[in-house]
């Protein structure tokens, strides 16, 4: 009897072993997401953007007139900088307060929900904590939003600034080479297109053009992309990160490893 009970117990444990994971580790539950498009469509933000667009239109006219009157390239460059500064100042004035309030709201909701990172909704397929409603509520509440007392906890989700990585000399050189190649091929295939008589022939020329560009892209950029991916994964592993996303998809928090990746690539 005792043996039978023991057998049953072992069997249960064994079945549990089959069902329950072999190594128990806590799931990552501190990932939040925000629907930035929804925040962007809030009336206050829309109104601020409309005012900014109106200012832009007015500025464009003045800019064109100033450029017309410019006498040298140096004048033009100076004018461009001045107008850029004026636009930037207006943007800060009109959109800045809303943006700051939104950032504070996100930080507060994050802290309240113990999140280490908030990403854009577009990259979340399943799970995660949706904080859009809470952030919207806080922005609308009218109450003053206090800045968080502490920075977000270190996140196991890292991010890299792809724009910065793309600006590296090697990648820029490869992109420039691809652009030059595309320009040359465009001329060659445009000439071929004039020889094509039927729709099927034209479609074939276009398909060949796309394939030629695709092959060249693979030849020039894929090795670099693979290298960046491998280096990024290596840095992420050293920093004990699980995943790395693009900076553009990060709303708040996360671990920035751009510099480390740049350094590793430069070695």
């Amino acid at each position: 009897m005792k043996n039978r009970s023991l057998t049953a117990l072992i069997a249960l444990v064994a079945l549990a072993f089959a069902i329950v994971p072999s190594a128990i580790a806590s799931d990552l539950t501190d990932i939040g997401y925000l629907d930035q498009a929804q925040i962007g469509s809030m009336p206050e933000f829309v109104a601020a953007n409309q005012r900014l667009a109106a200012y832009r239109a007015q500025l464009d006219g003045q800019f064109a007139a100033a450029m017309k009157a410019a006498k040298s390239d140096a004048d033009r460059q100076n004018i461009e900088m001045q107008f850029q500064q004026r636009f930037s100042d207006k943007q800060k004035e009109l959109v800045g307060p809303f943006f700051t309030r939104a950032q504070l709201a996100i930080a507060q909701v994050m802290a309240k929900k113990n999140l280490s990172v908030v990403v854009d909704k577009r990259i979340v397929v399943y799970g995660g904590v949706d904080i859009t409603g809470d952030v919207q509520g806080l922005i609308k509440s009218g109450q003053a939003i206090a800045p968080p007392t502490a920075t977000p906890p270190p996140s196991e989700i890292g991010f890299v600034d792809n724009t910065a990585l793309d600006a590296s000399p090697k990648i820029k050189q490869a992109n420039d080479a691809l652009a030059a190649f595309a320009q040359d091929q465009r001329k060659i295939f445009a000439a071929k297109m004039t020889q094509a008589k039927t729709d099927a022939q034209k479609q074939q020329v276009a398909a060949d053009f796309n394939k030629t560009l695709g092959d060249k892209r693979d030849q020039l950029l894929k090795p670099l992309a693979d290298q960046v991916k491998s280096v990024t994964a290596g840095v992420a592993q050293q920093k004990k990160l699980l995943l790395v996303v693009d900076r553009a998809d990060i709303v708040f928090g996360g671990t920035d490893i751009t510099k480390d990746v740049q350094n590793a690539l430069g070695k």
């Binding site: 043996n3 057998t7 072992i10 994971p21 990552l28 990259i123 799970g127 398909a207």
Partner: protein, 431 residues
């Protein structure tokens, strides 16, 4: 007792074996320290396995085709732009011709007057009375120059006629090509709309049946299923496939019929437009040629025959002949300059005219509209595919017990790559 123990041991081993078997049968330990409940999908790789990916590639090729056609050596212009620029060029040609005629006429009058004075002076010096009258008579010889000019004009008329006919033919060809291309674009656009409808239906039906299909497939994977149930389930699956295929085929047939009718309608409209446009061009050509013929005829009628007096002594006659040659040569040299200038202007205008009519009249406007439509369809299709893939990825992630699933991951030292599972899933849904 020992038998009992051995039975229990056997049960224990069986249980352990079952457990190990269950554990090892491809299940992912989503909570392991390397994964921690997080999955990711390389959506760019999955999208290539989507049944609509071929259509997306076709759209990309069509966009490239339009782009390459626009990048061709010809400058695309609309029919209205061609007509307006042709009008400008024709006006410039007529103005150049009038300028040349006026210059030649003025030179002719000037040299004629100077020749007349020189002849009168020569006759007076020779003691011959009635010098001015004789001079006027001799000067009438310069009318021969006019006649020669009119003859040249006559031969120029033939060249003009040939050039106008060639230009008219070029314009007609350009218009025929333009209208035919527009017709083909319309038909291609409609065909793409139908294709889109068929794709939408296919996608809708697949999504609609996805849950039932999955449920049947899951049941079919159960080894313990009896033969009758297995057959019933397979029949259900086949019936589902047949029903989907039937609906899609019915739509395809309807679309093919409608497209054929549309093709006939568009082609009939195009033929009528071509007929009308060519008729107009031919009428304009005839009018231009007739106008030039009238002009040349008037010139011919106004040309006077040469007349020389008989009572002039040979030495004076020789002197007068020399004067006449001298002024004739000066006039001819002057007139040649004017004719050369006119011919250069005319050649330039002819080149512009030919370039204008040889240009691709596929019309930027039409191409741009088609490009915008294709871009819109491309975005819609990409959106549809991405939505379906995300929905499927979410279902898989939930089914496998993940807490979070992401796309757009740049590097992943941890987490679970759900890409291949999703590819299999997508392929099984559409097989």
């Amino acid at each position: 007792m020992s038998k009992m123990r051995s039975v229990n041991s056997a049960g224990l081993l069986a249980c352990l074996a079952a457990a190990v078997l269950l554990h090892g049968c491809g299940r992912v330990d989503v909570n392991s320290p390397q994964i921690r409940g997080i999955a990711y999908v390389r959506i760019n790789d999955v999208v290539k396995h989507h049944p609509l990916y071929g259509q997306l590639s076709q759209i990309n090729d069509a966009i490239a085709a339009i782009d390459l056609e626009a990048a061709g050596p010809n400058v695309p212009r609309s029919a209205a732009e061609i007509a307006s620029q042709t009008k400008v060029l024709n006006a410039e040609l007529v103005a150049a011709q009038e300028r040349a005629n006026k210059t030649i006429a003025a030179a002719q009058a000037q040299y004629g007057a100077r020749e007349q004075q020189a002849i009168a002076a020569a006759l007076a010096a020779a003691g011959i009375s009635g010098g001015p009258q004789v001079g006027a008579q001799v000067n009438a010889q310069s009318a021969a120059q006019s006649r020669a000019a009119v003859q040249a004009a006559s031969s120029d008329f033939l060249a003009y006629e040939r050039s106008v006919v060639a230009q008219s033919n070029a314009a007609s060809n350009a218009i025929v090509q333009q209208l035919q291309r527009q017709a083909e674009q319309k038909i291609r656009g409609r065909a793409m709309e139908y294709q889109q409808d068929e794709t939408d239906l296919s996608l809708r039906l697949t999504q609609q049946d996805a849950a039932s299909r999955l449920s049947i497939k899951t049941r079919l994977n159960n080894l313990a299923l009896d033969a009758a149930t297995n057959k019933r389930l397979r029949d259900q699956l086949a019936a589902m496939d047949a029903s989907e295929a039937e609906q899609i085929n019915a739509l395809r047939q309807r679309d093919a019929k409608a497209l054929s009718a549309y093709q006939q309608q568009v082609r009939a409209q195009t033929d009528a437009q071509i007929h009308a446009q060519i008729g107009k061009i031919q009428a304009q050509t005839q009018a231009q040629i007739a106008a030039r013929r009238d002009q040349v005829g008037a010139q011919l009628r106004s040309a006077a025959p040469p007349s020389l007096p008989a009572n002039i002594p040979p030495a004076v006659r020789a002197q007068i002949a020399a004067i006449h040659r001298q002024y004739g040569q000066q006039f001819a040299a002057d007139a040649q300059k004017t004719v050369d200038t006119f011919n250069a202007t005319k050649a330039d205008l002819t080149n512009q005219f030919q370039a204008l009519h040889g240009a691709d009249v596929g019309a930027t406007g039409v191409a741009a509209a088609e490009l915008a439509t294709l871009q819109k369809r491309h975005d819609q299709l990409t959106g549809q595919m991405a939505d379906q893939l995300k929905t499927e990825a979410a279902r898989l992630a939930k089914q496998r017990g993940f807490s979070v699933a992401l796309v757009g991951v740049k590097a992943a030292p941890g987490g679970y790559d759900l890409t291949n599972d999703l590819i299999k899933d997508i392929e099984s849904l559409h097989e």
